[in-house]
Subunit: 363 residues, 2 copies
């Protein structure tokens, strides 16, 4: 069995008993039942993921993967391709958006070169898992071979497993790659069957003419490559990217090791969709942080039946949304663990629900 097959085979449904126990405690906390809304759902889900009715979130990481895209030379981005390595160095120096937000929520950032087009200088904070120096141009043929697709996903699995060995209770995904909304739209169009124009956005800021060109190129990529929408590896190989494959591996590796994975925005969502095709159960481990401005994100989430936590009109990627999402999930777990119950606190319960007051409890 390959590493990928072995990982998928380990992905099991959530632990229903831990979830039921968590919900029972939740209902006994000093608040009207259900009044913390999605926070209550989230902590129960984390309980099911961790197989623990009192789950813990201490060690947090964002895994931000970078890769380049052959199609970038066709004018699908407002930024030149050399911004990919420049931003990797920015991540390593701590000056990017993801660094700021990861610090804010107490998560470490793991920066991975999955396929940047140039050789990057070694750095203690940089994990090099380069599959190749950028993908081929998807508007003319496949992005990569099937073997490379497997290699990218398995690299993602190995990266998260290395982080798990250092201590990890929750992970967020992040991406960097000039041009990578183009393969992401191609993946989402292919898998959901939506028209390309309905799942393609302006990326880092295209004008109308550039948008038309982008849509035309994606249509061409799908016509030339004909990815099989039921085969995650085929979709990834034909119209994907190395960082997208790596992130699909992070999702699968998280699910196999019972770690909640907070999925960032559009590119991470496309990666999650690849993981979902390879193993639908992996969806249970995913928490979508926010609704991206990129319209294709909604189609990807709909396909998986996932409702994002926030809508802050963001479209940066890097894991910035995931970082904020991790903080919300952590808050939900703290609620479950740290709030007093009605009997602890001497608070009367709702009338008609075995109302009782433990009188006399005071500060």
């Amino acid at each position: 069995m390959s590493r990928l097959e072995e990982t998928i085979a380990r992905i099991a449904p959530l632990d229903e008993k831990a979830m039921a126990d968590a919900r029972r405690r939740q209902d006994d906390l000093t608040k009207p039942q259900g009044s913390l809304g999605r926070l209550e759902e989230l902590s129960a889900r984390v309980a099911g993921i961790q197989r623990n009715p009192r789950p813990r979130i201490v060690n947090k990481a964002i895994i931000t993967m970078a890769g380049d895209h052959g199609v970038a030379c066709d004018g699908v981005s407002a930024f030149p391709a050399d911004v990919t390595p420049q931003m990797v160095y920015n991540f390593l120096r701590g000056g990017a958006g993801i660094n700021v937000l990861a610090r804010h929520v107490g998560a470490r950032v793991v920066v991975v070169d999955m396929g940047v087009a140039v050789d990057l200088e070694p750095h203690p904070g940089l994990v090099i898992r380069k599959v190749a120096k950028g993908t081929a141009n998807i508007s003319r043929g496949p992005a990569m071979s099937r073997e490379q697709a497997i290699q990218a996903i398995e690299a993602g699995i190995e990266v998260i497993e290395a982080e798990i060995s250092k201590g990890l209770d929750i992970v967020g995904t992040g991406d960097m790659g000039i041009g990578n909304t183009t393969p992401s739209s191609a993946i989402v169009a292919s898998v959901t069957g939506e028209q390309v124009s309905m799942v393609t956005g302006r990326g880092t800021g295209l004008d109308d003419v550039q948008m038309k060109n982008k849509i035309k190129l994606i249509d061409k990529a799908l016509a030339v490559n004909r990815p099989d929408p039921h085969d995650g590896l085929d979709v990834l190989a034909k119209v994907g990217g190395f960082e997208i494959g790596g992130l699909a591996g992070v999702v699968l590796g998280a699910a196999a090791n019972r770690i909640p994975v907070v999925v960032d925005g559009f590119i991470s969502g496309a990666a999650a969709l690849v993981a979902f095709l390879l193993c639908p159960t992996a969806r249970e481990y995913m928490i979508a942080a926010h609704r991206s401005v990129e319209i294709g994100h909604q189609a990807a989430m709909r396909k998986m039946g996932i409702v994002p936590l926030m809508d802050l009109n963001m479209r940066l990627g890097e894991g910035t949304g995931a970082a904020l999402g991790i903080s919300i999930v952590e808050a939900s777990v703290k609620i479950l663990n740290e709030m007093a119950t009605f009997s602890d606190a001497g608070v009367s319960e709702a009338q008609g629900k075995e109302a009782h007051s433990i009188g006399g409890a005071r500060v």
Copy 2:
């Protein structure tokens, strides 16, 4: 001039220059312009509030105000009224939802008795500003006198000014008061002109029969009291509550002292609406944390033209949504202050926007 008049007189528009400077820096940070969406708007707003293009958020507080309501004896809540003092003690012991979430975001909780129906035991963490032992029943007459309404608001101003003297960069509002969705719906119906049934929700969990009764009582409160929808003091006195008045004072005091105020859910929203009636400019200082499940909240926000940051299906109050909102605002300010600019980081800018790359910048 009364303390209230003097406070309102000090509320000035935001500092446009600080906002413009903040936006200019925002556009120079290493990300596509506008790609952090609402985070970018938020930090610019805080810059305008603090009159500082590089605003700071270090000292954070949630002010949670408690009060009782005469109308609670008419079955408008699923919980008995003695839960108000019980929950105050729970706050003081640190076991409530607001304590957990405030700790999560590093905010202190200031607990204020604005009008709990019983005498509370003294506690170093409890601020006692009791206007009276609960309001009168609004379905039969005014909740309080106009003098008491002023007293409640001025107490709120004094509470926040005491906190400012200890160090405060951002404040969140929170409420506790069995039955207090009823006066909040009455306030919102009165001020917005919406039908009572369109702004009334199930509070802590009413069944259909109880809901009908609640709507009937609010209709009666409006018919009996006829609050003047243009006079915030009249609305508060006729159909409000002491904690609602206190929170209106917190909002006005925050605005007068140029402190951003993160407004929690429905009850806090009703208080913000009273503050808005008294001084429309105060709106510029308000950030709505989340959309409450209570439907009247949306009408209040619409009236003020404010779009909440999150929708997490919450309806607990206490300041729980405000705490999460504070963390988002703090994140936005850190982005503005801590991210590298294009020239700092040696990253190429978007093509067509004075594109230039500072080559050679490395880790």
